[in-house]
Symmetry: C2
Subunit: 341 residues, 2 copies
């Protein structure tokens, strides 16, 4: 299940992710692809919060589709001085001034105002779908709908969990493991999420993967899992404090529904980090999950659980065919209104 | 209760908000404040997701504190062509290239690469606190802690609800009302949230305010409120579809805990809009609330509810004094590590 709210799609397979070649750091590209040759055909997505735009087009005199993703860079500390943004080269345009408040637009010299640029060429239909803004819906999954639609779909799709078993069996990523409770019944492995660099507190993101197999998701949990869940909460928080000095009260500890893979796992993120997938329609705080099961042992077998799907997701078709959600009729992405705020 | 996750603070009182003076649109400022005279003293906050930085400093030869907020602009549609980002003036630096994927940094000419700039001068301690990054914590509020700490605090703070009553009594904002169900028992008023322009679907945000007085928050809800809650859900969704053509399945409908004011209200936002306060530790989907009460009529009187507080919030002191949360010892904001990703 993809994370419908993450409007910042991965740019490459994780194995290829942003490895800056520092030897080339100061050279201007002599690459055969040049931005001046890019001809825009469609704006696939314009994320005005993250300041990122995904574009589909062509390169002049070349065949095939090209995808260009532009994203404004975050501010760098070292540019906040009289040689950077506060230099005589920066122009200032006034919008309004009122009492002690003023709004302006400033234009620093180009060299400190870089834009992260990524090009995929030639791109396939799959690349285009990945970068396109998708219509997203909330579905309310009753226990009956879970049995009738979701469960058969999960079983049919046969998600490959070999990579999870490799971690649990010590065959891969062993150097990344932060904590390992080897109890086959209630143990778990704690390790940095692939999205995290493993260092920066501000973006802290770890994953606890349970040792016990066969617990697919939140839906399978009942009072027999309380010792497991409490162990993950308590030992997870303790180990993260020991290793990263982030106190328990500053951790967001949660499960996803639907999860991205159907082997029970728990997310730990730094409270101030706006990680993808922490929205109310997707994330369930572990403390709330424990509380619900303590009040009603079979809470998650009886509850109606909301989840979000994009129209491109396979499970959307299942719910659409059965009349539980309707496709938006006008998916003419060319005419999506762009907002500039 | 402030929204601890909204790292994009309001720049001005809402009455002063970004009114661009189009007559001055093309003039360069002749203002007495110039960025080249700004001397940085502290980085109060660096939001690397929103690409926004809040700075404290001084203007050369001027007394008093100045606050400067810089935020990269979102991409404008009209600049995505051969005169804008894809012009011969744009320089491209290569980070790496691998098969069909390439990562670069591009430097367009300064004039299309503006930065939203806001200056508050002279600034008070209150302005500084508002723009400063705050340590944030999650507290688990048991029913006992609610009775002992939260409720007395709410009652003591005596939040002024006159503006709410003015809306309900037809004394203000009547031209903004989208729908009004006048039933004193289960009626409500639906109107655009102050943060929304009332037009742009992509940032849709409405508020339903119940007519019945005395329901402070989620904590007060039980089975007697089910007709009210279902009416808000069903009529709210219906009216929003009629007026804005956003279907029910694309709406996120939720309550905040803690809320910003203690008179029951429900938020409606467009599912794809990354509105502030939609995180799992703050937002409770209305459908889940209804489901919980249907399973256990006094669910919200028995549940442990998490909520987030910042160390500057008054209620933090209440929980701190009673040993339920600990202040982070090193609030030396000067040494906050800045991330650039």
């Amino acid at each position: 299940m993809s994370d419908s709210n993450n409007q910042s799609p991965d740019l490459e397979p994780s194995s290829k992710k942003i490895k800056i070649n520092h030897e080339n750091d100061n050279t201007v590209s002599e690459n055969q692809l040049e931005l001046k040759d890019f001809i825009l055909e469609k704006v696939l997505n314009n994320n005005t919060v993250r300041k990122q735009v995904c574009l589909q087009g062509k390169f002049r005199d070349k065949s095939g589709v090209a995808l260009v993703v532009l994203e404004k860079n975050a501010f760098k500390n070292e540019d906040l001085d009289s040689k950077g943004y506060f230099s005589v080269d920066t122009e200032l345009k006034t919008f309004f001034q009122n009492d002690i408040y003023g709004n302006y637009e400033c234009f620093p010299r180009a060299s400190i105002n870089g834009i992260k640029t990524s090009i995929t060429y030639p791109a396939t239909e799959k690349h285009i779908a990945k970068f396109s803004q998708q219509e997203t819906h909330i579905v309310l999954e009753t226990p009956e709908l879970y049995q009738k639609l979701t469960l058969p779909h999960i079983e049919k799709e046969q998600f490959n969990l070999q990579w999870v078993y490799n971690i649990l069996e010590g065959k891969s990523e062993q150097d990344r493991i932060v904590y390992d409770n080897k109890c086959e019944q209630d143990g778990f492995v704690l390790l940095p999420d692939l999205k995290w660099d493993g260092i920066t507190k501000e973006t802290l993101y770890l994953l606890a993967i349970v040792r016990r197999r066969g617990i697919k998701s939140l839906r399978d949990l009942d009072e027999t899992h309380l010792p497991l869940l409490k162990r993950i909460r308590d030992e997870g928080k303790k180990k993260i404090f020991e290793k990263y000095q982030v106190p328990a009260s500053q951790l967001r500890v949660y499960l996803h529904y639907q999860p991205s893979f159907y082997h029970l796992h728990v997310h730990f993120t730094y409270l101030r980090h706006e990680a993808p997938g922490i929205y109310a329609e997707k994330a369930h705080l572990l403390d709330t999950v424990i509380g619900n099961i303590e009040m009603i042992p079979d809470y998650y077998k009886k509850a109606t659980l909301p989840f979000t799907i994009r129209e491109m997701d396979n499970i959307f078709k299942v719910y659409e065919t059965n009349g539980h959600v309707q496709r938006i009729v006008k998916p003419d992405i060319e005419n999506i209104e762009l907002i500039d705020k």
